[in-house]
Homo-oligomer: 242 residues x 2
Amino acid sequence: MTPVETGVAAAEPWSRAEFEERLRDVVRQRYHDRHPFNVRMHEGALSPEEVRRWITNRFHYQRHIPVKDALITAKLDTSELRRTWARRLEDQDGRAPGEGGIERWLRLGEAAGLDRSGLLAGRQVLPGVRFAVDAYVNFCRHRPVLDAVAASLTELSAPDLMRVRTEAFERHYPWVRSGGLAYFRDRVHQGRRDSDEALSLVLDSARDRAGQERAVAAVAFKCEVLWSLLDAVDQASPEQVR
Amino acid sequence: MTPVETGVAAAEPWSRAEFEERLRDVVRQRYHDRHPFNVRMHEGALSPEEVRRWITNRFHYQRHIPVKDALITAKLDTSELRRTWARRLEDQDGRAPGEGGIERWLRLGEAAGLDRSGLLAGRQVLPGVRFAVDAYVNFCRHRPVLDAVAASLTELSAPDLMRVRTEAFERHYPWVRSGGLAYFRDRVHQGRRDSDEALSLVLDSARDRAGQERAVAAVAFKCEVLWSLLDAVDQASPEQVR
């Protein structure tokens, strides 16, 4: 994505269809389902210790999702848009105690033999994971709303990933109690609804080529965040020769 | 509120009761119910044009309430706290189209003969009102969560104000259709519930004297925001000699 060069006329905006295709292309090519650690996870090659390390570190990401969504909500300037986005807060934090995605992730941890208080304390979270999550939250805090919303479009591939992951866990990691997989199952439909809404918002909001390019760059950035998180988890494995 | 001086031992924290009394004292003494413009409003002395100017300018404040509440939500670090605070977003933006405090404020405007699209365009908003609202939103954006939550404690006096205001409008401004007063009526119980929650959070969170003093200063700041808003609306009146 090269920015418009000095002295060159501003590029024409892509058509809506081409813009959407470019957004989807980034996700297809750079989503973390291709990361070696994720490939090993879904093939059933992770040790219990690796599964637990992934759950612990990914929880650090999960618990910051409502934070970035509240920051995005603060940037939306109509009740209608905020109402739509604030439903994501509810999805993660629940309407009542014991509900919500964060609670379901804690139960996944417990189903894998991890301690709830240890997950909440977060002492096992790797530096690279903290940095990647900080980068994402600060991106949503400081960038224009278009960029922040576009970054969420990795959700375009989330439902497929969640379905594959649920099957992989049921097949390869039966020691993780099946009730713990509710997070993955619930995200299949939530992810589809969320990505449909965000995609419409991005397609409607990026009015010129510069905005379209920023949106594509935002999705690429988000893919880097997710990839970097898995890099850190992968690096921590003692068996680095694979 | 003097900060702890160099070379002087840190002051002892106030007792919970004394801290609460100091917070309430600031609101009692500096809340905008005492502002000359508000006094004139409740006495029935405003012209229709002044009532409309107040509604238009106060709407600029109203529409930023969910923005500051989303920023506060992003600073709260448990699902339980965010869930409680996010209910304020719902109160203002509604669960569905046509609901919520912002919509009710637009209906108040319409009941007073103002045009909805004009209110939304905001071209009649005075510079002093914009600055005061920006100051409040940025306070909630940049300050620690304790300060941002404490600033909301002007709500301690809001239910009384709303009750008096509803009666004043029914008595003195019968040309404002009564159905338009739903915002004031709904805020009586919402304001009480919100201020109870925020007060508990502030009393629990300010662990030392410095934190307690910051909380008291935050309420004073918020009183200044509301006062300054009325100053700007008042200054715009042609009849400045009263």
